[in-house]
Symmetry: D2
Subunit: 354 residues, 4 copies
C-alpha cells in the first residue's frame, strides 16, 4: 500500500491532475466521521468530491461553509441518481446503511460504507450479491486495518514471527459515547472483530457474550469470547463506562507474544521474546514447563493517517478492479459475529455457533 499517491506539493500539477480525477464521490452523512472522510478524500489526487447529503440543516450549513464549491442537499436520492458520481460514501447510523447502499448499488455506484456494514447478515448478503451482479465494489470502513500498527502486526503474523497463535485479547474501554440505537458491542467491537478477522484469517466456530446495561437499556459493558479452530481463543472487553481510556491488545503465540497499546504515542507495538517451552516426560506430573524470557523489541511504526491510506486503496480497487481486503464479505463476517454475540448476550452467555 506504500505506492498510493497523495497529492503532489506543486499546485500547478494539482490543478492539472484534478481534471483527471478517477473517482467522483458523493458523501451521505456529515456528522462526526463524514467530515473526516471528506478531508481525507480531499488529500487524494484521484478523487473529486461532488456532493454532500445530510438530513440536518446544521450539518448542511457546516458542509456548505467548509466546501463552498460542493453541492449540498438533504435528499440522498439526488446523489444516487447523479451521473457525475461514481461512488457513494455512506457515513450514517448503521440502521440506514442497507437502504442507502442498496440505492447506490442499484444506480451503479461503488460504495464505501461505515462500519458495521449492516444491521444484519441478510442485508449484507443481499448487498454483496447486488454488487457482484453489477460488478461494483463494496468497501467497509474497517479503518484500523490501514493503521501502521495493524499492518506491522499482520506482517509479524504472516512471517510466522509469533509462531502458532494461542490467543487474541483486546480491551477497548473509555467513558462514553452512549449511542441511542446500538449497544457497546455494536459500537466498539466491530473494530476488534475486523482486526481479529484480518489477523487470524480463520472464522470462529462459536461465540459467548456477556454484559450488562445500566443506563439506557443498551449494554454499556460487554465481554465476548470467540472460539476458533485449533485452540485459538479471542476475547474482547468493551465498556462505555470506564474512567480511563484503554486500547490494549495482547496476542500470544507459541514463539513470541506482543502487546499493542494504541494510546501510546510511540512504541505502540512491543514484541516479546517470551513464551513457554514444554517437554513432556511420563505423565502430567513430569511435564516440564519452562519459561523463555528474552529481549523486547518495538518496531518502528510509521505515523500515517489510516483513513487516507484506506481511501486511496478504495480508489485503487475501483480503478484497477481489485477486491478489497475489507470488502462486503469481510463486512459480512463482522456482522455475523455481532449477530452471534447479540444472540449470546440475550441468553446471558449461551454458546452460539457460527
Amino acid at each position: 500500500m506504500a505506492t498510493f499517491l497523495t497529492k503532489p506539493q506543486d499546485s500547478n500539477a494539482v490543478e492539472e491532475q484534478n481534471s483527471k480525477a478517477l473517482v467522483r464521490f458523493g458523501v451521505v452523512g456529515y456528522g462526526y466521521w463524514g467530515p473526516k472522510v471528506i478531508r481525507n478524500l480531499d488529500l487524494l489526487e484521484e478523487t473529486e468530491l461532488v456532493a454532500i447529503c445530510d438530513k440536518s440543516p446544521v450539518s448542511r450549513r457546516k458542509a456548505e461553509k467548509a466546501y463552498p464549491a460542493v453541492f449540498v442537499t438533504d435528499d440522498a436520492n439526488e446523489l444516487m441518481t447523479s451521473p457525475d458520481i461514481d461512488a457513494i460514501a455512506v457515513i450514517t447510523p448503521v440502521w440506514t446503511h442497507y437502504e442507502l447502499a442498496k440505492a447506490a448499488l442499484e444506480n451503479g455506484k461503488h460504495i464505501f460504507v461505515e462500519k458495521p456494514f449492516t444491521s444484519n447478515s441478510a442485508q449484507a448478503q443481499e448487498l454483496i450479491a447486488l454488487a457482484a451482479e453489477k460488478n461494483l465494489k463494496i468497501m467497509v470502513d474497517h479503518t484500523f486495518l490501514f493503521t501502521a500498527a495493524v499492518q506491522k502486526i499482520k506482517q509479524l503474523v504472516e512471517e510466522g514471527a509469533l509462531g502458532k497463535l494461542y490467543y487474541y485479547d483486546s480491551t477497548r474501554v473509555n467513558l462514553g459515547l452512549f449511542q441511542h440505537d446500538v449497544n457497546v458491542i455494536w459500537d466498539l467491537a466491530p473494530h476488534d472483530l475486523a482486526i481479529m478477522d484480518h489477523l487470524i484469517q480463520e472464522s470462529p466456530e462459536a461465540i459467548v457474550a456477556t454484559g450488562q446495561s445500566h443506563v439506557n437499556g443498551h449494554e454499556d459493558i460487554a465481554f465476548i469470547t470467540l472460539y476458533f479452530p485449533d485452540k485459538v481463543i479471542a476475547h474482547i472487553n468493551v465498556n462505555w463506562m470506564s474512567p480511563v481510556k484503554v486500547r490494549t491488545t495482547l496476542i500470544g503465540g507459541e514463539k513470541k507474544m506482543l502487546v499493542w497499546n494504541d494510546v501510546e504515542p510511540d512504541e505502540k507495538v512491543k514484541v516479546y521474546d517470551k513464551g513457554v517451552n514444554v517437554s513432556s516426560r511420563e505423565g502430567v506430573y513430569n511435564m516440564l514447563v519452562n519459561y523463555r524470557s528474552g529481549d523486547m523489541w518495538a518496531p518502528r511504526v510509521e505515523q500515517t493517517e489510516a483513513l487516507t491510506q484506506e481511501l486511496a486503496y478504495f480508489v485503487d480497487c475501483v480503478v484497477n478492479d481489485k477486491t478489497p481486503i475489507n470488502d462486503g464479505k469481510a463486512g459480512l463476517r463482522v456482522v455475523r459475529m455481532l449477530e452471534a454475540a447479540s444472540e449470546s448476550l440475550r441468553q446471558r452467555g449461551a454458546l452460539v455457533y457460527l
Copy 2:
C-alpha cells in the same frame, strides 16, 4: 485493624513478652508461601512457631537451617497431635487442604488455610460444620483483603463514595507459573473472587466462564463473568501466557469510578470524579446522557505487609473469639464460584446458576 500489635523495638520487652505467646503454631508446607507465612508469624509478638512439616527433604533442610530452634518433621500427624500447638497453618496444594484441615480441627486446632479453601464445596461445608462443633476458628488466606489498597477501596465502597456499583472488572495476567494440578482459574481467580466477595457483599446469581488450554491440558487463559443482583456485573481475566504482568481492576459506580493498579509502586488506587448523568425525556431517543469529568484523586495507601496484618488478625480472632471476615464461609463462597466457573468452562460458557 490499625490496633494490631507488632513486636516492639525494645528487645528486653520482646523477650519478656515472648513467654506470653498467645497462639502456638504448627506450619504444614514449607514450599513457596510457607516461608513467607513463617517469617510474618515471627514478626508477631503473640505467636510462637513450634513445628514445621514438609514432605520434601530439601524443604525440611531449608527449614532446619533457617529455624534451628524449631522442630521439623515430615509427618503432619506429629503436629496435629502435639499438645504444644494451638493452630495449624495449612500451606500446601489445594487437594491436600481438606484432609489436613480436618485432622487439625479434629485434634482441636484452629486452622489458617491457604486459598482456595478446598477442592470442592462439600469439603468446605464439612470443615465449617466441624469447626463450629468444636468452637474452632477457620481463616482462609485471602491475603489481598489485608492490603491497604483493598482496605481503602472497601472504605470508599462502604462510605458510598462510588455510589451504586455498576461493575467490577479485573485483569490478572502474567507469564507463568503453570500449575500441574489446577487451571489458571483455580490458581489466579481466587484472589479476585475473594476481593470481589468482600467488596460487593452480595452473592452472584450466575456465572459464565470461557477459556482455553494450550500447553498441558489445564486452561492457561480464562474469562469469567459473574451476574449479581441489581445489574451489578463482574468480570475476571486470568492468563498464564501474557508477556506482561497486569494487575488492574476497574470499578465503576454511579457517582465515581476507580482504577486499582497493583503493579504501580505508588498511586495504586485512583478515584475518578467521572460518570454519566441521565435525564430521560419522552422515549429513548430523547434520553440525554451527559458525561461528568472532574478531578482524579489518589488517596495515600500505606505500605503495609498484608500477611502480617492478616496473621495478627487471626491471633485476634482466636484469642478474642471473633469471626474472621475471611472465615470458612468466605472460603466456601469462593470455592462455590470456582466450582461454577469450572462447570461453565467445561460447557464452553454455559450459564451456571449459583
Copy 3:
C-alpha cells in the same frame, strides 16, 4: 479568560458579526507556526484576516490555496502601510522580529510577536518605548501561559497551595529540530523561561548555563540554573538529541509539590501532599527532618486550545486598552535571561548577574 468569545455556531450570526470585526490582522510568516496562528484567528468572532506575507513562493501558494479571499504578498511593507490593518502578527525567525515589529509600530499597528521577542534586549527596549509612545500593544507569543495546565498551576501558586516556593525544575527534550540560526537554549528554553517568569513573579539574580554542540556549531544540549531571591532556584534542561520526548516540570514548595507532565494526555498536573517538616533542636545533629506523605490529586485540566485563548486575549487587550501579561516587558525579561544564559554558556558556566 473564560469570557472570551469564540464564534457562535449559527452561521447567520457569524456573517452578521463578521462585519463588526474589531481587529483586522496582517500576518507576516506562513511557515510552521503562521498557519496555526491564522487558523485560530479564523475561529474568533472579533478578528478579520486581511493579508498574509511570506518570502517563499511555496508558502505563498499554500496560503493562497487555503485562504483564497485573503491578499497574499511577498512584501511586508504592503501590510505595514495598509490602512485596513490594525495589527501585525510577526511569525518569522527571531532575527527578523525587530525590524518587522518596528515597522509595524511606526505605522501604528499593534503587534503580536513570536517568541523569543527579539535577538537582544536593546531591541526589545526600543520596541517597548516605541509602543508606549504610540499607545500600541505588544504581545509576545508565550503560548504556554494560556494552557489550562499553566493556568491551574498559576492558580495553585497564587492561592498559596504550594506554600513558599523552593524550586522549579523543567526538562524539555526530544529529537530535533535543529535550527540554523539559534541554539537549543534560544529555541526551547523561552517556553520555560516565560512560564517560570509568570509563575514565580520575581526576577532571577543570576544565571549559570552549560552545554555542548555536537553537530552544527550550535549547542544542541544545555542546562540552565537560575538563582532567585529568597533561596528559590530554577533549572532548565533542554536537548535536541534525546531519543524520547520529555516535557516534565517539577515544582517544589514548602507545603506541597507538583509534577506537570505535558506529554500525558490526561492528568497533566499532579499535586502531591508531600514535603518536609523541620523541627530544629540544639544544633544540626539534633535537627529533625520529617517527611510528610499524603494524597495525590490531579485537578481536572480543560482541553482548551491555548492559542485561541491567547489571540482572544490579544483582541481584548487591544480593544479594551489592557496591558497583556505577556507584553513587551515580559518578552524583554525572557530575552534578558536568554542573553545572560548565552553569556554564561560562552564562559562554560560562569555566573552571570542580571
Copy 4:
C-alpha cells in the same frame, strides 16, 4: 562475572566448604546498609563473617539477634587487630572512612569501603599508597557497576553500538533522606559519577555545579555539569525534595541513544535507533540535518542482586590478586569530582578544572 560461585543448594556441601572460607570478614557499621552487606556475604561460599562492630547499642542488639554466632562489639579496634579477620567492610558515615580504612590497612586487612571512598582526595591518595605498600586490596562500594543494567550499557558502549558518545544525562531525585553530614551531591551523585566514570572511561576536564539549600544548611537540590574531552558532556540532577522518585539516565551517541529507567520493573534499558545525520554543503545554511528514527530495543536484563556479585568479585580480587574495577583509584576519581563539584557549588557555578 558470571562465573562467581554462590552457595550450592546441597547443605552437606555447604558445611564442608564453609570450613574452606577464603576471606574472613569483619564489618564495621550495622545501620542501614551494613545488614545488607552482611546478608549478601552470607550467601557466598567463600566468605565467613567473623565480627560486627557498631557504636550504637540498639544496632548491636539487632546484630546479636540476627547473627547469634558472630562476635559483636562497639570497639572497631578489636576487629582491626584480630588475627581471624582478613578483610574489613567499612559501612559507616563518610567522615569516618579514612580513619577506619587506615587502621584496617595498617593491620594488614583488605578493605571494602562504602561510597564515597573518603571525605577528600588527600585521604584517598594516602589510603591507596598504603594499600599498595602492603599489597592489600581496596574496593569502593560502587554497587551500581554490578547491576545487570549498567553491565549491559557498558557492553553496548564498548561494542561501539552507540557510536561516539555525545552526552550522559542523569536524574536521581526523590523525597528524602536528608543527611546531617553531607549535601545531596555527596549523598546521591556518587552513584552517577561512578557509573559515568565506568562507562565513559575518560576523566572530565572541568565541572560546574549549582544548587540550593532550603532546610538544614546542606544543599537539597543540585545540578552538576561535567565537561569531558572531545565534546562529551555529562549532567547530573540530584534532589532530595522531589515528590516523585526518578532514576532516569539518557545516553546519546552518534549511532544510537539509550534510556535507562531504573524504577521500571522490566525493560530498564531501552536502546533507540535514533539519531542525527549531518551532510554539510557550503556553509551553515546549507547544512542538512536529517533525523533517523528506527526500532526500539529493550535487551533482556537479568534480575541479579548487584551486591552479591560485587562481594563475590571482591573475594575473587583478594584471592586471585586482581585489581578491582572499583579500586581505590576509581574511588579517588569520584572523590575528586565531588570535591570539584563542591568547590563550584560554593562559587555558585564557577568552572572548576580537574
